[in-house]
């Protein structure tokens, strides 16, 4: 029997994940704030048949410190709103999934819900969302309304995602009837107040945006510790984890399954990906060393770093996948070079091994992951729960 296909995602951020990546000869740092730059990268990812692209975001500047902005001038600082970048790219791509990060800590679930629903409408079913929390007092100060309680942020985020999901369901699929005979544009019995009341906010609903094409756009969560694993198992369809070896991958995968059961989601498909920062090519190790030297320190991200050839990476992915991971999110150390190494070297290598598809399927992003299109939880018609 042929081995199952791996899923492959790519994470885009600035000039790449290495802080000195913008200084590589083919980097385009002057274009970072232009649409053309992001369209070029997204189209390259699509040429590689990748499942989806994540777009990083935060409500404060990039920093080499954990506790707030720094004053460095030798690294990329500044970033466009990830949802708008994804929306700008959507009409110029056809198949690749588009998954922006959106911070949930200071934002309104109502706004986030309609933004991602609209991204799904615009991309005809290719939208996802990576909810992120913001624990930094410096980012809270951008909103100036409250003190952040770090130990509550993930619970609040879970409520946020729950409200967003309810709002996506608040229109049944066939709510718009355009019944000229009775003069009714909608069947209002198929629109529902979500009536959420929680510790941090309450939201009435329904959404102003009709149910998105996927019903529930893909929710993806990066989870690097136990608390985040729990949140991911509660909220996500797709979890990005950061295991350094097969043993760790097995443990993390098992932990997420356990948490899934505790969250009452044992019957739902939750995909677990491994995240890797990748520098690819015969000279990858020396390129990475050069970047470290330019930056003045070794780059130590939250995910494992891989340096080596595409074939070596394929070997590594193949081994890691035996832990039960359904795919990987690769974070290119520098773009475009490490992105094109993924699309032009790694993907063909995986295809040769029968581990990656050779064309895009035609369905939605959910369908690509074998996820059903759920009925609205409020559906009054056949198939839904009343």
């Amino acid at each position: 029997m042929a081995p199952p296909h791996l899923h492959l995602a790519v994470a885009l951020d600035g000039a790449g994940w290495h802080p000195a990546a913008w200084r590589r000869p083919d980097a385009r740092p002057a274009d970072l704030f232009t649409a053309r730059y992001w369209v070029d990268l997204a189209q390259e990812a699509e040429r590689g048949l990748l499942d989806l692209i994540t777009f990083e975001d935060a409500l404060g500047p990039q920093s080499s410190r954990d506790d707030g902005p720094d004053d460095r001038t030798d690294q990329v600082r500044g970033r466009l709103d990830a949802n708008l970048v994804a929306a700008r790219v959507a009409p110029l791509t056809e198949r690749v999934g588009l998954v922006p990060s959106v911070v949930v800590t200071h934002t309104e679930p109502f706004h986030v819900s309609k933004a991602i629903a609209t991204l799904d409408h615009i991309s005809t079913g290719r939208a996802g969302w990576q909810p992120r929390v913001s624990a930094l007092p410096s980012e809270a100060a951008h909103f100036g309304r409250r003190e952040v309680q770090p130990d509550e942020l993930l619970d609040e985020a879970a409520d946020h995602v729950e409200v967003v999901r309810r709002l996506w369901d608040s229109w049944e699929d066939d709510a718009e009837i355009r019944d000229v005979a009775t003069g009714r544009f909608i069947d209002r019995d198929k629109l529902h107040h979500v009536d959420f009341a929680g510790k941090w906010f309450s939201v009435k609903g329904p959404s102003i945006t009709p149910r998105p094409p996927q019903g529930q756009p893909l929710v993806a969560v990066l989870a690097t510790d136990a608390d985040e694993h729990r949140f991911a198992a509660q909220a996500a369809d797709l979890v990005f984890t950061t295991p350094h070896d097969v043993e760790q991958a097995r443990l993390v995968e098992a932990r997420i399954r356990d948490e899934q059961v505790l969250a009452g989601r044992a019957h739902e498909d939750v995909h677990v990906f491994g995240d890797l920062v990748v520098h690819l090519g015969a000279d990858a190790a020396s390129r990475k060393a050069q970047l470290d030297e330019l930056d003045g320190a070794e780059h130590v991200p939250d995910a494992p770093v891989f340096t080596g050839s595409a074939a070596e990476l394929a070997d590594r992915l193949q081994v890691l996948a035996t832990a039960g991971l359904s795919g990987f999110r690769l974070r290119p150390g520098a773009v475009p070079e490490d992105l094109t190494a993924i699309t032009r070297d790694l993907v063909p290598e995986l295809q040769r091994r029968g581990l990656f598809r050779t064309s895009y399927d035609t369905g939605s992003l959910r369908a690509r992951f074998g996820l059903p299109r759920p009925a609205s939880r409020y559906a009054t018609t056949a198939g839904g729960r009343p």
């Binding site: 500044g78 790219v89 629109l191 945006t209």
Partner: protein, 455 residues
């Protein structure tokens, strides 16, 4: 000098002016509809496409209103996508200053301005009701008199964020490893009664510096706000006389804010109905009015004034003999029109007299009193009339509100626009690089250089 006419396209929204029952009416959500209207507008050299906003579905009598179009996409997301399929068209979004935060909105508009190459515009509006507030963390909280104050502070705060990058910080010198020249680029600190925020803004200065600012609102406070801070003002004054009065009033307010007459453009919302003859156009207009105001729509409209259930009322019969329920209007939620009838009993009396004098049924009365069709006639008639409005200072241009989605401006673009071009009052090609330039607005002053020290 001959004034140039500025034109904008409103995407038909959620009210009874949008005729969804027409066979030509298509989706108000599908992206293809937005692309159609945007490309029509761009082919015709329009300045911008304009989206309105609603943050809670309207309800009447405790039920979601079902007779009009319901549902709209997220403004920022759809505008960013439209930037991909247009090159010159301005992209104007209505964003509430009540249920948003300056940092987030400024970040989204600055991003949109980058991603569109300088075509973003922001219609700054206020929201007032606790009904809408039930969808948000903040809830409903602002007394009416503080709404413009918050809006004004909100805009001022956002502008400080837009100005927090001067525009020359990003140098990306690979050799020296200098990405930024200023370690504190984007630093800001703002404190007033509404906002107390500080930190670092993450979006470098955008092509326009900030989005073009639009303001809608006809109250004295609204006019003053526009005169002090907006680049354009939207109005409902569709007649020549009312337009001239409004125009003179808002332009007169500019000098005391240190601004000149050409720094604020006046845009009435306008509908156009065309025909091969003027008579045919008027017939067509009457037909559209009947499409817009069904019997049920007329009864629901009357309920908003009478402030009670009138579902037993015959729309083809006379107006009710009884008076409206006095006091707070509780029947309609989430729509603006109820606020327009400050004295419902007087309005009812007036309408009964009008209906009696002209022999109008409920439906005919509503058609008569809510008519807002502005330009009706042959393309020649309409082009000449619009030109007169602009040349004689009743306005600087028009926001065209079509009644069909998304093809409602096709005829206008094909027949009236060429006539305006022949008259030399409308562009045949875009000359500016940004929306601000296309609107003929003076350049913004560069942000003041602030000394920053690393800390």
């Amino acid at each position: 000098m001959t004034k140039q006419i500025h034109l904008a396209a409103h995407f038909p929204g959620v009210n009874n002016t949008t005729v969804w029952s027409d066979p030509r009416s298509q989706s108000q959500i599908a992206f293809s509809s937005f692309v159609h209207l945007a490309r029509t507008a761009e082919r015709a050299g329009f300045d911008f496409l304009f989206l309105a906003e609603g943050l809670r579905l309207r309800e009447q009598g405790g039920k979601i209103y079902d007779l009009d179009v319901v549902g709209r996409p997220d403004t920022f997301t759809v505008l960013a996508a439209l930037a991909a399929v247009t090159e010159h068209l301005g992209l104007a979004g209505t964003i509430s200053s009540t249920f948003n935060e300056p940092y987030e909105v400024a970040r989204q508009f600055a991003s949109l301005d980058h991603l569109s190459g300088g075509r973003a515009a922001w219609n700054v509006v206020t929201s007032w009701d606790t009904f809408t507030g039930e969808n948000f963390r903040r809830g409903g909280f602002l007394p009416e008199e503080q709404r413009y104050e918050r809006a004004e502070r909100f805009l001022r705060t956002a502008c400080e964020l837009f100005d927090s990058w001067r525009g020359d910080e990003v140098v990306t010198d690979k050799e020296t490893g200098t990405f930024l020249t200023d370690p504190r680029a984007g630093s800001f600190a703002h404190r007033d009664a509404h906002f107390d925020i500080s930190g670092r803004f993450t979006v470098p200065r955008s092509p326009q510096g900030r989005p073009v600012i639009f303001q809608a609102g006809d109250s004295d406070a609204g006019r003053e706000f526009a005169a002090s801070a907006a680049d354009a003002i939207f109005t409902r004054h569709g007649t020549f006389r009312a337009g001239k009065e409004f125009y003179a009033d808002v332009k007169r307010r500019l000098p005391k804010h240190g601004r000149s007459r050409d720094e604020l453009l006046v845009f009435p919302a306008t509908t156009v109905v065309l025909g091969d003859t003027d008579a045919e156009a008027h017939e067509h207009a009457a037909h559209i009015r009947r499409q817009q105001v069904s019997g049920q729509t007329a009864v629901r409209f009357l309920e908003q004034v009478w402030n009670r259930d009138l579902s037993d009322l015959d729309p083809d019969g006379p107006l009710p003999e009884f008076d409206p329920v006095p006091g707070e209007n509780t029947i309609a939620k989430g729509r603006a029109s109820t606020r327009q009838h400050r004295d419902p009993i007087a309005v009812a009396r007036q309408w009964r007299e009008l209906a009696q004098a002209k022999g109008l049924s409920v439906r005919e009365l509503v058609i008569e009193v809510t008519a807002r069709q502005s330009f009706i006639g042959t393309p020649e008639t309409v082009a000449a009339e619009m030109d007169r409005f602009v040349q004689e200072d009743a306005c600087d241009g028009f926001i065209l509100v079509p009644h069909l989605t998304p093809g409602g401006l096709d005829d206008f673009a094909e027949t009236v626009v060429p006539l305006l071009q022949e008259r030399g009052v409308h562009r045949t090609e875009y000359t500016g690089g940004t929306l601000r330039e296309n609107l003929g607005l003076p350049p913004l002053p560069a942000p003041r250089h602030r000394e920053r020290t690393a800390s």
